[in-house]
């Protein structure tokens, strides 16, 4: 699984990255977590509000910092959809 955290490096983006890693650990899931800070790439995902969370090239969330539990939900939903 490939996960991207979209954001230029403000507080919210860092928090999202931290919580994503935490969620993965709690679920014992393996994934590459990549931080995307380049504006052009961020914009190419069509989000207008950072931070954004992209799971396997699909935008899962934008504009809010979810709780660890919420991220776990998103990850599980993605896995079962596969």
């Amino acid at each position: 699984m490939n996960i991207k955290v979209l954001g230029p490096g403000c507080m919210n983006c860092k928090t999202l990255e931290k919580r994503t890693i935490e969620a993965l650990q709690q679920l014992n899931m393996n994934a590459d977590v990549e931080k995307v800070e380049d504006y052009q790439r961020i914009a190419s995902y069509g989000i207008m509000h950072t931070p954004g969370l992209v799971i396997d090239e699909k935008v899962a969330l934008s504009g809010s910092v979810p709780t660890v539990d919420k991220i776990k939900e998103l990850l599980l939903a993605h896995r079962s959809a596969q």
Binding site: A43, S44, H49, K58, G63
Partner: protein, 341 residues
């Protein structure tokens, strides 16, 4: 506490609201009690400074909490995507008015300015309309409005919101008329969105209340130190600076004070939370309303960090046009208020 919020957000509101009201009405007796208990000599400078601090700090924090909570809920009804949809295909003037008003309620932080800018440009929203949004969003923020309401009353808060809107509308309109498209960095037009953004889900009422609490945790948790510093500086000015000291410097008769206040204010950056208690003290010591308002708008509305972020999508001439047009608007507002009041 966190668990409680997550499980019973609505119940938590019902419990906390009466407590809030009680605390708010206990402010004056509380401050008087602290001052008399401290044993400070009455009507000395230090006593007045302390009284100011122990009264204003809890008052501002209480007001801030409730308004940030309410705004957090209101914002769940808006999103940049929805705002973009509303603005699409609107004519220049109507678009400017709408964009400025949406700038107040749409969730926005300066780190999102670029994706938002690109998102707007991509769907063909005119640059002028986009700029109205970018001026209004930082300038008219809930913290500024709360503090103005708390320290000066609703008239001043309303005045700030309406002049802020006026500046956002006219600046955007003027920039739109100037045909500045060629000063936008080329890569902006070459961005192609590869994936469709996620479809929006409608949050439940519980979710909205939850968002309100999160906003309080986030914003109040972040700005309280600035508020303390701002009020402490304000208290110092309140207690120690003589009456009318600011009259010659920032008074009506000093015609040059408005542009100078704006020139000083533009590179200065502070969030609204820190600047307004200082503004309060300046006004009290004889600075005129127009000059002070202009100073505050320049500090909050135009900031160096945001300009640097915008430089990624705007070429230098457009940066200067943007800052120049908005600063001119602020100066005009400053003069008008000095003239009228």
């Amino acid at each position: 506490m966190n668990k409680l919020l997550e499980r019973h957000p609505i119940g938590t509101v019902i419990t906390f609201l009466p407590l809030w009201i009680f605390l708010y009405f206990a402010l004056q007796p509380f401050a008087d009690a602290i001052v008399s208990l401290s044993g400070l000599p009455p009507s000395e400078q230090i006593t007045e400074a302390v009284r100011f601090f122990v009264f204003e700090t809890p008052k501002v924090l209480l007001l801030l909490t409730i308004v940030v909570f309410a705004v957090g809920i209101v914002r769940t009804y808006f999103s940049p995507e929805r705002t973009r949809k509303i603005l699409g295909g609107k004519s220049l003037f109507v678009g400017n008015v709408l964009a400025s008003m949406l700038g107040i309620v749409t969730p926005f932080c300066s780190c999102s300015a670029i994706p938002l800018f690109i998102g707007f440009v991509e769907t063909g929203i005119p640059l002028g309309v986009t700029f109205s949004f970018l001026v209004a969003a930082p300038m008219i923020n809930e913290i500024a409005v709360v503090l103005l309401f708390g320290l000066f009353g609703w008239q001043t808060a309303l005045l700030y919101v309406s002049t802020g809107l006026l500046i956002a509308i006219t600046s955007g309109y003027v920039i739109g008329r100037l045909k500045v498209e060629r000063f936008v960095e080329n890569w902006v037009f070459e961005v192609h969105t590869t994936t469709s953004a996620l479809e929006e889900t409608v949050p439940s009422f519980r979710d909205r209340i939850q968002s309100g609490f999160e906003a309080v945790k986030d914003i109040v948790g972040r700005v309280w130190p600035y508020i303390l510093i701002g009020i402490a500086v304000g208290a110092g000015i309140h207690g120690y600076v003589p009456e009318n000291f600011m009259a010659s410097l920032m008074g009506k008769s000093a015609w040059w004070s408005v542009p100078v206040a704006v020139l000083i204010g533009v590179p200065l950056y502070s969030n609204a939370a820190g600047i307004i208690p200082i503004v309060h003290a300046l006004l009290e010591k004889g600075a005129s309303l127009g000059t002070t308002l202009a100073f505050m708008m320049a500090v909050i509305g135009l900031s160096l960090p945001e300009t640097i972020i915008l430089r990624k999508v705007l070429k230098m001439p457009l940066i200067f046009i943007f800052v120049g047009v908005v600063a001119t608007g602020i100066i005009i507002v400053g003069y008008v208020f000095n003239f009228v009041y």
